[in-house]
Symmetry: C2
Subunit: 453 residues, 2 copies
């Protein structure tokens, strides 16, 4: 219920839940509007006003006030690709060949240890890490995704998630049909939830046969949901799939009718110019995961070319076993620097482009652009506040540069998701950090005891 | 004076200033000794004992005790190349071509604004940032280096520094002779200081003529000091110098007698295999600066080949105007990931190699290997303590992996340099953070007012 008060000047004044005032607001709207000594008015789950502190205080009375002096106030970051529960395997085996890592280490460990408990606590730990590093929305593919949804809900995080669909048995699905059934159940359980959104998630074209992919697409169409897969993570995958399909991979997807505006592709390292042009023509979205691509030696995705072609490209951390963090600040810095060195051109992927990939463009890629990713009246209140009075952030000439090249996750002071305060002065308000760390250490203890000596 | 007490078991017991106990000690000694529930005994400026907590407590009585439970205790990081005072220009102009950036922006700004005050406060701010990110030793090249030495001394940081010598006038030296004279004065002022060490610093072969370089080398020889320059930062520099010398750059250095064990080269991006072989044969040291090389689009230094050839390679952040941070944790992560993607090989530059570059190998490169870079009895007590009970550091399977791929500067809790506590619970004890930030904001305000509108 909206009450009206009178301002001291006599104008009608609207009472709202929260006003954030005194900081520099980076709206990340279409015109990159920046408001010095700015303010936001928040009512329930959404932003109802943006302007200078004076303007907002003349229009709104806040039941609570957050002082953002010396702070940057910006949209929460959008992590477009991760496998949250894999925090439980963080750093268990690094510096290995991708296929050795996957087949000799990760898959056997997963078969043995991944269960609903690991999925829940691993995901909740990931939420703690993500909130503490300024992420307010994440997109997740793993198994037992209902547990990840429950964890996100408890953490108060916005998410888009879907069960990874595979040809071979997963810890949660003996057959592809089981995985598809679980996906339908996820949709039925979570449709209409204010925070949890569902995506259909066939794993990849190498781990998922065309028939499973077709069934997955049918479900996505039936419920009007996005669908996504890992695509062309490296050249070896490209070669393997070209043999399998006897044609180009993107050509195969096009001919199969899979390329639509609801299609997201993760990684996209081994795309050529023709692929990019086809994906762009069909309004497909790409998610760039530079740290994982670097760490696994996969290659450099042609992101400048994708952007040039008009594609919407979001940023993701990938899972914490192949990165090994969920820190979007590191991902932004890496993105800006990787493409400069890859193209020997310091002018590509400037700070503004990268910040937009991590916020509004990421939200657009996930189909959540009307909900989150920028600070505008009508959008959900997904907001982070960074304390800029730090030695490594002094002096401050340009906000975007400072955020990409100098700021770090620990500079995030306050996080609001869907209008709710989930972190204040770096203290999590929705998660008991000690409890979740203790639980995951316990799970990791079991994993360690199962390893060959 | 060393006093002897009796232990409860009757054995002789030595009283020391400080015992750090209960954490996992990563010594970074030659055998990578790791001590669980380990302890260090510190007397005055140096480490006098390492062992398990039980062993140390049986041998030593500490006048003060630091509890490192749930922490990693390791040598302070060694930042082998920076321009500390350039914090004042952090982020003033990013995403530009190197030569545009240097000639159109940085050099004119420096000519107008760099003075002893900027050098002092900019350096002190850099020290604050470095200590807070776990660096205990840095190597610096800029102008007014006596101010940087004073700032380091006030901060309690170990350093190796030298005035940048140029053919053209610098804000501190109208002629090359002035710069050489200032270098002699630096040596006379600081020789014997427990923290400040001097290096002779001709800027580069493109900004410094062979005669200046020869004079610089004479001074280094006279005082038995190391000498260093920026070398082959990109292919353009290589082409330019090959024209200038009508021969290969490393060949020129060799023929001129400049290649000795006291010679350090910064950047080393455009080295070929022959260059590496020659530098290795002469015991020259290289400093790798991946973030700066990436951000400026300079290229990827052939570090795996340098290591293969047996060269000692340290890590540096470069100046905060071309990075834009002094964070060695980010530099480590970037180093490990950059070479994996550049070589499409996830097994190169593993976490152990990178950690050693940031600690003991860096100290070796600077000629300070007998002083710092590892935790061993007889070495100076340059120690950092990281709190590992954090969501993003949970679980913990492998220390080195966790440090390189997951930990960040904000995880550094406590820093000791030369036996003196300079940060505790993230509070700086030698620097007034607010004062130094306010001073640099004031200087930045003058810079902003001088910029064309």
């Amino acid at each position: 219920m909206v009450e009206c008060l009178q301002t001291t000047h006599g104008a009608a004044m609207r009472e709202v839940d929260t006003i954030i005032a005194g900081g520099t607001i980076l709206t990340l709207d279409e015109r990159d509007t920046r408001i010095e000594d700015g303010a936001l008015a928040i009512e329930s789950d959404r932003i109802v006003g943006t302007g200078t502190s004076e303007e907002i205080k003349n229009q709104f009375a806040g039941r609570s006030l957050i002082d953002a002096k010396n702070c940057l106030v910006m949209p929460g970051l959008v992590n477009c690709h991760t496998h949250a529960a894999m925090t439980c395997f963080r750093g268990i085996a690094d510096d290995r060949e991708l296929m050795t890592w996957l087949h000799d280490i990760i898959f056997p460990l997963e078969a043995k240890h991944v269960d609903p408990e690991l999925a829940y606590w691993g995901s909740l730990l990931a939420c703690a890490e993500m909130i503490k590093s300024g992420t307010t929305t994440f997109c997740d593919m793993y198994v037992f995704e209902d547990e990840t949804a429950r964890a996100a809900k408890r953490a108060g995080m916005r998410c888009l998630l879907g069960e990874g669909l595979l040809d071979f048995p997963s810890p949660n699905a003996a057959t592809p049909a089981d995985g598809l059934g679980y996906t339908r159940k996820l949709i039925e359980t979570w449709t209409g939830d204010p925070l949890v959104n569902i995506i259909v998630h066939p794993h990849s074209l190498y781990a998922c046969s065309p028939s499973v992919f077709a069934e997955a697409k049918k479900i996505a169409d039936e419920y009007n949901l996005p669908y996504a897969l890992h695509l062309l993570e490296n050249q070896a995958e490209r070669l393997q799939l070209e043999q399998k399909f006897s044609k180009g991979v993107v050509a195969f997807l096009k001919e199969s009718g899979y390329l639509t505006e609801s299609f997201l592709a993760y990684h996209c390292v081994a795309l050529d110019n023709e692929d990019i042009s086809v994906l762009a023509d069909h309004g497909c979205k790409a998610i760039h995961t530079p740290e994982s691509n670097m760490k696994l030696g996969s290659g450099v995705a042609p992101v400048p070319a994708m952007l040039e072609a008009g594609m919407t490209v979001g940023l993701g951390t990938d899972g914490p076993a192949s990165n090994n963090n969920l820190d979007m600040f590191r991902e932004m810095d890496m993105t800006a620097k990787l493409h400069k060195v890859a193209g020997l051109d310091p002018t590509v992927m400037d700070a503004r482009t990268v910040i937009r990939m991590a916020t509004c463009e990421g939200a657009n890629a996930l189909g959540l652009g009307s909900v989150t990713g920028s600070l505008e009246p009508g959008k959900k209140a997904d907001i982070i506040i960074l304390n800029m009075r730090r030695p490594h952030l002094t002096p401050l000439y340009h906000d975007y540069s400072q955020l990409v090249y100098a700021a770090g996750s620990a500079d995030v002071d306050t996080v609001i998701i869907n209008g709710k305060l989930v972190m204040r002065n770096r203290t999590l308000l929705t998660i008991n950090e000690k409890e979740v760390m203790a639980k995951v250490r316990e799970i990791a203890g079991q994993i360690i005891r199962s390893l060959p000596a």
